[in-house]
Amino acid sequence: MKPLDPKLLRFAAPARRYVALTAALGALTAALIVVQALVLAHVVAPVVGHQAGLAESRRLLGWLAVIFAARIVLTWAQERFGQRAGVDLVADLRSQVVARSVALGPRWLAEGRGPEVVTLATRGLDDLQPYVTRYLPQLLLAATVTPASLLVVLRLDWLAALIITVTLPLVPLFMILVGRLTQGRTERRLAVMGRLGSQVLDLLAGIPTLRALHREHGPERRVRELGEAYRRSTMGTLRVAFLSGFVLELLTTLSVAMVAVAVGLRLVSGDLDLTTGLAVLILAPEVYQPIRQIGTHFHASADGIAAANSAFEVLDVPLPSVPRTPAPVMTGGSVRVTGLSVAAPGRRVTAPSDLSVDLRSGEVTALVGPNGSGKTTAVMALLGLVTPDAGSIELIAAPAAGVERHPLPTAIPLHAVDPATWWSQVTWLPQRPWLAPGTIASNVGLEPGELISPGIVRAAQLTGLDDVVASQPQGWHTAVGQGGVGLSVGQRQRVALTRALVAPGALVVLD
């Protein structure tokens, strides 16, 4: 797991801008922190040494106020742009993931990636927000404030710099070491915790059943016992898991204390002046601060990184190349299916198996067969949404007018034509039809304000949509939301069927 994946910058333009901005803000913050420490030391030291009063300190105090004002602005800007970038990035990646999965087609979605894409597209990517607004800025501060402060400390006092340089690498080292040592134990505990937690939920889900058996009073004790076991198990995990936090705190605080003592002892022996000593003392905690914050936000960011990685996996799937040949004009033409076989994913079945059929102009062809025999898959193959494992589908144009005696109309294999030009000639009514957000009228192809044509009324009578319209208080203007909210499945099918009858393509497919 990379803390900052280069793919994030490659795929998401908002991330590029934001990382650049945050890096700039981080560099400015680093400069201000260093200057602030130096100014503060220069104000305090002469007063402690009775060499200056308020009058002499006024100019430096003014500068200090300016520095603080600048840091307030920087903090505001970081938070303001951080919040915005988090939302931008999530929105950007979501659009990309959805667009890519639509382009990859239903077969790819059906191969087990569908639910994951749905989760990503609806709420999974939201986990990226804390990563962007909290974790990334600290990561960039660790890359700017930590080295800048350390360099200044090195110039001021080599001993303090040495202490910091030695302890700094120990932080990640020990955290990795503790993590490795406790990983197995933590994972085992987590599994136990997951099981205990799901058992309580299982009992909650079973309440109606327990009530029906008059046994709802028994498990109360069981729920309490499970809760107690869950607590003990979790505490066991936490005792181990918090060790890495302990190491982080111990190393960062103890090294600041060591720096303070070392500086103090050198001051007593006169090797150092107070201004330098104070500056080092103020800067030492700043070196560690971003690292501690990274530790604090680490877990929140892990979910975000995981979500981003799933998004990148989707975006990394190469798109199949789209042929440029347009489909022939199919009005009056025909489709020839020869020996079509498709292996069903996940099942050791071929459905359809060796299907041959000629779909000729002016004819109605019925595909019949029991459940699972491949009727829908055959339709998908016919639409070019599924690639056949064997056999061929060819589009045969109508003989052009005037050349009716042309001996052999040319047959173009379906996989060689641009699907968009083929789809534009097809009307497809799937089992679970989709309705565009709008009204019933807009879904049967009416523009806003357009009157219901006799053709639509006839089609609606045929499909029974007229009854549906009559039963709705808003009639044709009944709003249908995403997924046809407000209408039953049967009513949705009638709307979609009417739409298919009103504006049929050269090929009408009713599944």
């Binding site: 200090l64 307030i72 659009s95 999965s101 087609g105 749905v118 597209a121 939920l201 029906a212």
Partner: protein
């Protein structure tokens, strides 16, 4: 009312205040160590610069080192203590929620069978518990440490302490308040946009093929982008608040440090403050503001937990227990009057007329909510060996009748008289995530393996059982996912059999089975009362099903129809 949700939920947590106080105490020691480290090391360095004998510094040197260690140690102890408090609370909340739901209104509990709702209840309990660890205890620790630091600084120089107090209030109260308001505002403003975005994205992914073929995909994608833009715009006002909240944190530090210098420098000149004291007064605030760092997150957590508490309390209130359901102390085996509402006309006690009567009803009308009857039932007089089949269109009220006969639902009017408690097996009954045997023991704790095998044999599951890897000890998956539909139904009936109930009510045992299997199963069930007592204790069976193929095995077939004011007609 809504805003009382979190305090109410917190009361249900039953947090032990002495344990919480212990966690706050350790947190105080941890953060106090950090502030003390800052103050003492400032003193050490300022004093050292005056080159006193080294021995006079030894106490400070030891203290600095000790604070360097104690901070991490106390923080570790505090984290464990506060998590312990929260986990105890979450455990108590889960138990209370279970107790409440197990006695509450069934229609409010039933939706929990949906996996996502159930998971949300689980997550909501966790969120309410989190408020202790991430919000209440950190805020208390921060308040204690801040107060102590202010008092210490006031002892050195009252004005400096005053500036520190103002700064800490800015960073620790005003800032987090703005942050929380920002979070709440963002959520309020963007709720609609967010749900639009989700719905559009879901629609596109679910219907990708159809939209591509219909040429609508580009249009839908641009609609999604537009919705994303709206979402972005709607989060803006809240983000502005959050940004100001963060800026206030830095402003607080500025007020404290500049204020300490402003009044400290003249105080040194006038002798009110020692020279070394100035270093302490100026540098201690740098460490003191660490205690306010966690507060914006604490405020945001409070807001999140509040929403979780609202959902939980809404569930809690929706499951207001029915007062007049089956009395828990009713003795099985003796005739008992099931809950009737005396307020409803015609609900007088029906005496047992015959000694071998197992179940009888009079003028029974059933419904889920008072005043809205779903259906009625002709009067039943069932004796040992009787079987009844309820038929009727879906939604006619078959399930409602069975739930009323089982005593889970109080009759809207009329009365039910039974010789023993009926057991209801519904089509969607829960298969628990445990072993086959334990799933049967759900009905009666003392079921022996032999009894379990017998019951599974009666429902024709012996071949299935012998194919299981660990027999009766095989774990069944969550939601019974490792069991096929037909096996699941038979398992549920076996569970009803081992309960040794005399009256069995079975709802739609054959749903989604093919016709032959369904008819065979329903016929088997209807013949259960005729089996010898050694095989099955079932004396009366009532099956609701629309598989009429097995109807000839029933002694009585009743067509259930939706409620109309006139009394229902018997076929």
């Amino acid at each position: 009312m809504r805003d009382r949700a979190l305090p109410r939920a917190l009361r249900l947590l039953g947090v032990s205040w002495s344990r919480a106080a212990r966690a706050v105490f350790f947190g105080f020691l941890a953060l106090g160590s950090a502030v003390a480290l800052g103050g003492v090391s400032a003193w050490l360095i300022a004093r050292a610069s005056q080159m006193p004998p080294v021995l006079t510094l030894s106490v400070a040197v030891v203290a600095v080192r000790a604070f360097g260690i104690s901070r991490a140690v106390f923080r570790y102890v505090e984290r464990l203590a506060s998590h312990d408090v929260a986990l105890r609370g979450m455990s108590a909340l889960r138990s209370r929620l279970y107790e409440r739901l197990s006695q509450g209104r069934l229609d409010a509990v039933a939706p929990l069978r949906r996996g996502d709702l159930l998971a949300r209840v689980g997550a909501d309990v966790d969120h309410v518990g989190d408020v202790v660890v991430r919000s209440i205890i950190p805020a208390a620790v921060s308040a204690c440490v801040s107060a102590a630091t202010v008092v210490a600084m006031m002892a050195l120089l009252p004005e400096a302490g005053g500036f520190l107090a103002v700064g800490l209030l800015l960073a620790g109260v005003a800032g987090p308040w703005l942050t929380a308001r920002g979070a709440a505002r963002t959520e309020e403003d963007s709720a609609q946009a967010r749900s639009d975005v989700s719905a559009l994205a879901l629609d596109l992914v679910d219907h990708a093929a159809e939209q591509s073929v219909a040429g609508r995909a580009p249009q839908s994608l641009s609609a999604l982008r537009e919705a994303d833009d709206l979402w972005r715009a709607s989060t803006d006002a809240g983000a502005r608040n959050t940004a100001w909240g963060a800026a206030l944190g830095m402003a607080g530090l500025a007020v404290a440090v500049l204020g300490a210098l402003w009044c400290g420098i003249p105080a040194v000149s006038s002798g009110r403050l020692s020279d070394v004291g100035l270093a302490v007064v100026v540098l201690t605030p740098l460490a003191a503001f660490e205690s306010t760092l966690v507060l914006p997150a604490a405020a945001a957590q409070w807001h999140r937990s509040q929403q979780a508490a609202r959902r939980l309390m809404a569930l809690w209130d929706a499951t207001e227990p029915e007062q007049d359901t089956f009395a828990p102390d009713a003795v099985p085996g003796s005739a008992s009057r099931l809950g009737s509402r005396p307020a409803v006309a015609g609900a007088d006690l029906v005496p047992a007329e015959e000694s071998d009567m197992i179940l009888s009803t009079s003028g029974l009308v059933a419904g889920w909510t008072a005043g809205r009857p779903v259906t009625g039932l002709p009067d039943l007089r069932l004796h040992s060996g009787d079987s009844v089949m309820l038929t009727g269109a879906s939604g006619a009220g078959k399930t409602t009748i069975l739930a009323t006969l089982a005593g889970i639902l109080a009759p809207a009017s009329g009365a039910v008289l039974t010789a023993s408690r009926p057991i209801l097996t519904t089509e969607d009954a829960h298969v628990f995530h445990t072993t086959v045997l334990e799933n049967l023991r759900v009905a009666r704790g003392a079921v022996t393996p032999a009894e379990a095998r017998e019951a599974l044999d009666v429902v024709g599951l012996t071949p299935w059982l012998s194919a299981l890897p660990a027999g009766l000890d095989t774990m069944l998956g969550p939601e019974g996912s490792t069991v096929s539909g037909g096996e699941r139904r038979r398992l549920l009936i076996a569970r009803a059999l081992v309960s040794r109930a005399g009256i069995l009510l079975i709802d739609e045992p054959a749903e989604h089975l093919d016709v032959e299997t369904a008819d065979a199963l329903v016929a088997d069930l209807l013949r259960l009362p005729q089996l010898p007592l050694t095989v099955s204790q079932v004396r009366v069976v009532i099956v609701a099903s629309h598989h009429l193929g097995a109807a000839r095995f029933a002694d009585q077939v009743i067509d259930v129809r939706p409620w109309k004011p006139e009394p229902p007609v018997e076929d």
